[in-house]
Amino acid sequence: MLGKTAGGLFWMFRFLERSENTARLVDAGFRIALTRSMAAEAEWASVVGTAGVRDGYLAKYDEFRAASVVDFLLRDRSNPSSVMSAIDSARSNARLVRTALTREVWEATNECWMAMKEVLRRPVSENDLPDVLATIRRQNALVRGALTGTMLRNDIYNFAHLGTFVERADNTARILDVKYYVLLPSVSFVGSSLDNVQWETILRSVSAQRAYRWLSDGDANPKQIANMIILDQRMPRSLAFCTGQIRENLNLLAANYGVRLACHDQAEAAEQRLLDNSIDTIFENGLHQFLSDFIVSNRALGLRIEQDYRFYG
């Protein structure tokens, strides 16, 4: 496979993942703003921070109002992480690697792009927001479904998955990092309703409200929430799940090509570092420090993969 093709697949799926994550962040922000209008502005500010686009946002707006945040995160093409920009980039990459995709995956991606262009043609009103967000999730799911259902399980598939999980790991870590203070024990002792809402937001941002209810007897507890999002390998957006997937896909590539590269060692070391921890040691050593380290090492791994597999000249 061409190095460029591997890179195109990797980034196509990173951008698809990003578009969905951004939509999910908007969903969580929207929900909390509905239920707690007092804290809305702070909540939207934290959503923009989590999406990692604070500077870009502040260059354009002074206040964190719902309408402008939603517009910036969903439609603004000057924001490279907006849903529309991410879908644009995903499709450009899909065109670049078209020969590596089945017709179904390409068409699902193209249809996703057409659907986004349609629903995001105009600013999205509060009334339409739930529908639009649902459309984004659904269209993304269609691409994933086409990938799972029609693609050979070969290097193409591995690079697609690597993109998905490197992006997702980054995203999950950032969601936690922005909100880590509400999970800290000192705050949880207060047990205010504010915290419950914040926990709920975190769970919603990673689509884990339901899973959490099933796994935790319904009792919201910050340590359990953190444990689930960081270390639970059953949770498809947890850091442990993502690093496991990254390691597994890299190992499949190593087996397929018959060569182990620096990224393989790096991925295994990263996973080991994660699994050597319990949620208690993570809290003891500092949740924020842990998440920052994770984000840095995940980014480094992404760059290593790009180099080892010659994405660029």
Binding site: M1, L2, G3, K4, T5, A6, S92, R95, L96, R98, T99, R103, W106, E107, N110, E111, M114, D155, F159, L253, Y257, V259, Y309, R310, G313
Partner: protein, 475 residues
């Protein structure tokens, strides 16, 4: 201009009764519900958009990907008509390859005085770097798209020999695919010859011209200028259908004397490169140094026998519009036979007598740039205003050698679906020809381009033209 009977209609001839090739189709069509057909027509558009069969338009941000209109009424050619066309095309393509070999070697045709030396000597399309180069397998034009127009029952003319990088074959294939999906019953009723083998034959044909350096199974790749090129869809489509890599210039390097592509596992040599980049941009070391698209040094590797480039560099000298007017002589010189397909009479404006005639008859003529393509920069006399004609006359006088003129041909019509039923529209035809050592394959059919505006004679997609599925009937 009107669509009155001064044009030959391929469905109804001059008198209105369906011609033979269309008989089966018409008996089916007459029993269809027009509303259903119109709905199908819409479906086709959705299908094309979803598949991403679009072409890019430069300089337009929002509308940068446009659909080429597709018309659901097929254009039908009988086995007898096709047999004659293929004989004529084969003869012409064989002559073109012989001409190219000659013009880059001994130039016997110039020594014999059959075409004027200045025509080559002053021609920008003559590529000196190809002097003395014999391409692998002896083939210069692996892929040719001969543009043919029809003006009557037995009157076919070659309009252009596209011998550089003809495009449109993906539309031929996708149009058929679309028709098969929309009207499967039609194909069980009418015996239509298959076109779907094209990618397989293209790959075989390219592989048959592997360079001396190739050991083992030839590695083929398609070189594209990138996703912003107007024909990118076609490039990726063909690579995909052939099962070969689609590469860009920056994927390629010289490694161990070979042009090689950067893969996830290192550099892999390429044997045959089907390039969809113009000569000028192909190699910044040897041609335009400002090109960011090409592969520096690829021409050196080519001249050293390390890679096959298809089509060969320098083939533009064979499809230049000034050379075109000599094509009957060229065919005769190299094949010893009279040309089977007619040339459109052509006035070379570089010749003073011709220029005078052309200037006097501008309202009746079509004037084209010698090096132009895509229907840009041409004058269609009968459709032009007095002002446009006057302005064009000035251009012509200031640079006569840059133009040729031809009579306005009464292009045949084929009906298209319109809101108010079938209506005749002018068409041309681009069959696709594959050339490999000792072998010429012409896919039965080709790309029918259709002017979607009533009365218009311009079929180019860049000018709003559409396409149709083209059926060649079994014997």
């Amino acid at each position: 201009m009107s669509d009155a009977p001064d044009f030959f209609d391929e469905l109804s001839g001059y008198d209105g009764a369906p011609r033979g090739p269309y008989a089966d189709f018409c008996s089916w069509f007459d029993r269809q519900d027009p509303a259903r057909l119109r709905r199908k027509s819409k479906e086709a558009e959705v299908f094309f958009r979803r598949t991403g069969i679009t072409f890019n338009v430069y300089g337009q941000q929002e509308a940068s990907e446009r659909l080429i209109p597709f018309d659901i009424v097929p254009r039908i050619i009988s086995a007898r008509e096709w047999a004659r066309l293929t004989r004529g095309i084969e003869q012409r393509v064989r002559a073109i390859n012989a001409f190219l070999h000659d013009i880059y070697h001994r130039q016997e045709i110039l020594r014999a005085g059959r075409i004027p030396v200045e025509l080559i000597a002053r021609n920008e399309a003559f590529l000196p770097q190809m002097i003395g180069v014999s391409p692998p397998g002896g083939i210069y034009t692996h892929i040719v798209g001969t543009d043919i127009v029809r003006t009557g029952e037995d009157d076919f003319f070659v309009l252009e020999d596209n011998a550089r990088t003809p495009s449109g074959v993906s539309y031929m294939l996708e149009n058929r695919e679309t028709m098969l999906q929309m009207f499967p019953e039609l194909f069980s009723r009418v015996p239509v010859r298959e076109v779907g083998d094209y990618p397989k034959m293209l790959r075989r044909s390219l592989a048959a011209c592997a360079p001396p350096a190739c050991t083992g199974r030839p590695v083929v790749a398609v070189l594209t200028p990138g996703i912003h090129n107007s024909a990118y869809f076609e490039h990726s489509f063909l690579a995909d259908q052939m099962g070969v890599e689609l590469v860009e210039g920056d994927d390629l390097r010289l490694v161990d004397g070979r042009v090689a592509m950067r893969t996830t596992q290192g550099y892999t040599p390429i044997d045959v490169l089907y390039r969809r980049i113009d000569d000028d941009y192909l190699d910044p070391l040897n041609f335009n140094p400002a090109s960011m698209l090409g592969v520096p040094g690829i021409l050196d590797a080519y001249r050293a026998g390390q890679i096959t480039i298809a089509n060969a560099p320098g083939t533009g000298i064979a499809d230049d519009k000034a050379i075109y007017s000599y094509m009957p002589d060229i065919v005769e010189f190299y094949t010893g036979e009279k040309a089977i397909l007619k040339n459109v009479p052509t006035w070379r404006c570089s010749e003073p007598d011709s220029l005078a005639y052309v200037l006097e008859h501008l309202p009746e003529l079509v004037v084209k740039e010698v090096h132009g393509s895509g229907g840009y920069g041409m004058l269609v006399g009968p459709a032009a205003s007095k002002r446009e004609i006057a302005a064009f006359a000035d251009k012509l006088k200031s640079k006569p050698a840059a133009y040729i003129a031809q009579p306005t041909l009464a292009l045949s019509t084929v009906p298209v679906m319109t809101r108010s039923g079938l209506a005749p529209r002018h068409v041309d035809l681009r069959p696709f020809v594959l050339v490999s050592p000792n072998r010429i394959d012409i896919t039965p059919g080709g790309l029918t381009r259709v002017a979607m505006k009533a009365g218009s004679l311009v079929v180019n997609s860049s000018q709003g033209g559409g396409t149709k599925d083209t059926w060649v009937l079994e014997e």
